[in-house]
Amino acid sequence: MSPQRTILIIDDDDDFQASMRAFLESQGYRVAQARSGREGLEKLKQAEPDAILLDIMMESVSEGYGIAFAVKHQPEYQAYQDVPIIMLSSIKESPDERFPRSEELDLIRPDRYFSKPVNLDLLLETLSRTLQRV
């Protein structure tokens, strides 16, 4: 039997957190939650998640990108640089559109981008596929 996987949700929307937590737990995942980017980075070390769901627009309009950059490139979070990041936003604007032809994008490119509301089947499929790889 595979061990229980932990998903860290970083999102400032309490309602999104509540529904996503219930859903993921019903599917056998363990859930850790953070309501800001800063809290997310702290929880990363405590929860040691297998994947991260990361909202883009939190306190600032691009906070999620900053967090993704920190996880993937800052020495402090080196231990977690391979944790898959799934980015979320209410706006249908993928990072590729946001940073067209930009070198920055390579630094923060998420493993998957979803717009909200998240398609639950697609999310489950993505999670199981991504987590098999790790």
Binding site: S19, S60, P117
Partner: protein, 393 residues
């Protein structure tokens, strides 16, 4: 004043980089020792040329410079440092006989000065304060950038604000449908419905506010200019806010003058203008706190102040609170539910009525919003007006 709350601008930057430029060897040595002990990264230089080279290459947070040096003078250093980075903070060291030049240095943009001889404590105090200033400048700069970004991406941002509640509600529905028939669905349903309802209400408010703002922008709202007595409007608003205030354990206090306070405007608009201020004063207060609404006549204007005993507005945010969608968010403090449009609407209405809103605030103590509107002299009130000028009720 509440001294238990440390003013934010006294907070230095940990690990801050300090460059000291002084031709006096002993001075360089002691500055380095004292400041390094306080945890700063210190570099010392014997003249302006070498010091500026380091400033250009390393962009320190603070430059401490002796005013009187051979070669490039301290005054020149101030100029050149600010040409490199206007947000870099400079403190000058002066001898007592040259204290007059300290004033010139401050005029030229130095933040503070240290008269020689000084004690280690004096040095630490001035450097700490200067670094607090630096922190404030950097933070303001960051917020300014954020504001620029917001302006450029305004349509995206508004869409996001409008879409977020909808996607949250939709997500509840999707998950409920998915979990239908399981015990989880039974436990969550009632709570999620209630939460969805609250999101709907907030969204309706957001759209209404948005509409109010755009109508105020076209001056449509304030076209109706009927004389109305602000005392009645304020009494109604304070009454209407009493329930909310009680829930938040905040006392409401209203002080009105005997005389009429007639302004020209639309009753509904005036209501919105002041309700926003009073509601904010309650929401950003603390349990046991107080909101005082006071009206008076000052130099031919009606002057209404709304004072709270809340958390106050950080200095770097004060210039931004009237921006659409700007919300003051502080680590560890809950942000009250709101649309981020209340203050912009209030300011807009005040401006359209020929008035203005000013804000004074102290972190940890509270804020006062003061609205000034042109007074319409009512019959027989001219005499009274002169008598009551500046007097509180």
């Amino acid at each position: 004043m509440n001294r238990s709350v440390r003013p934010r601008d006294d907070e230095a930057i940990p690990g801050a980089r300090v460059v000291v430029i002084d031709d006096d060897y002993a001075m360089r040595l002691s500055c380095r020792q004292i400041l390094a002990k306080s945890g700063y990264v210190v570099e010392v230089f014997e003249d302006g040329a070498k010091g500026l080279e380091a400033v250009l290459a390393q962009r320190p947070d603070l430059v401490v410079v002796d005013l009187k040096m051979p070669g490039i003078s301290g005054m020149d250093v101030i100029d050149r440092v600010h040409a490199i980075d206007p947000d870099m903070v400079v403190v000058v060291i002066t001898g007592y006989p040259t204290i007059g030049s300290a004033v010139d240095a401050i005029k030229a943009g130095a933040y503070d000065f240290l008269p020689k001889p000084f004690t280690p404590d004096e040095l630490r105090l001035v450097v700490g304060r200067a670094l607090g200033r630096r922190r404030l400048l950097l933070e303001s700069h960051r917020l300014e950038l954020e504001r620029e970004l917001l302006k450029r991406r305004f349509v995206t941002f508004v869409s996001h604000q409008l879409k977020s509640p909808l996607t949250a509600i939709r997500q509840y529905m999707d998950v409920l449908i998915r979990l239908e028939g399981t015990p989880e669905a039974e436990t969550q349903r009632a709570e999620w419905l209630e939460r969805s309802r609250r999101r709907c209400d907030l969204m309706v408010r957001l759209i209404e506010d948005w509409l109010t703002l755009s109508r105020a922008e076209c001056s449509e709202l304030v076209r109706r200019r009927e004389p109305l007595d602000l005392r009645e409007a304020l009494t109604e608003i304070v009454l209407a806010c009493e329930d909310v205030a009680e829930k938040q354990e905040v006392t409401l206090d209203l002080a009105l003058p005997e005389r009429e306070l007639v302004v020209a405007g639309d009753e509904g608009c005036v209501g919105v203008l002041f309700s926003n201020l009073v509601e904010n004063a309650i929401a950003y207060n603390r349990p046991g706190g107080k909101v005082s609404v006071a009206a008076r006549v000052e130099r031919g204007e009606v002057c209404v102040s709304v004072t709270d005993t809340g958390r106050g507005i950080p200095e770097e945010c004060r210039g931004l609170i009237f921006d659409e969608f700007f919300r003051v968010k502080e680590e560890g403090e809950p942000t009250p539910a709101g649309t981020g449009l209340g203050l912009p609407i209030s300011r807009r209405i005040a401006t359209e009525m020929g008035g203005r809103i000013d804000v004074e605030s102290e972190v940890g103590v509270g804020s006062t919003f003061t609205v000034r509107l042109p007074l319409i002299p009512s019959e027989g009130a001219d005499q009274e007006m002169h008598e009551s000028q500046g007097a509180l009720a």
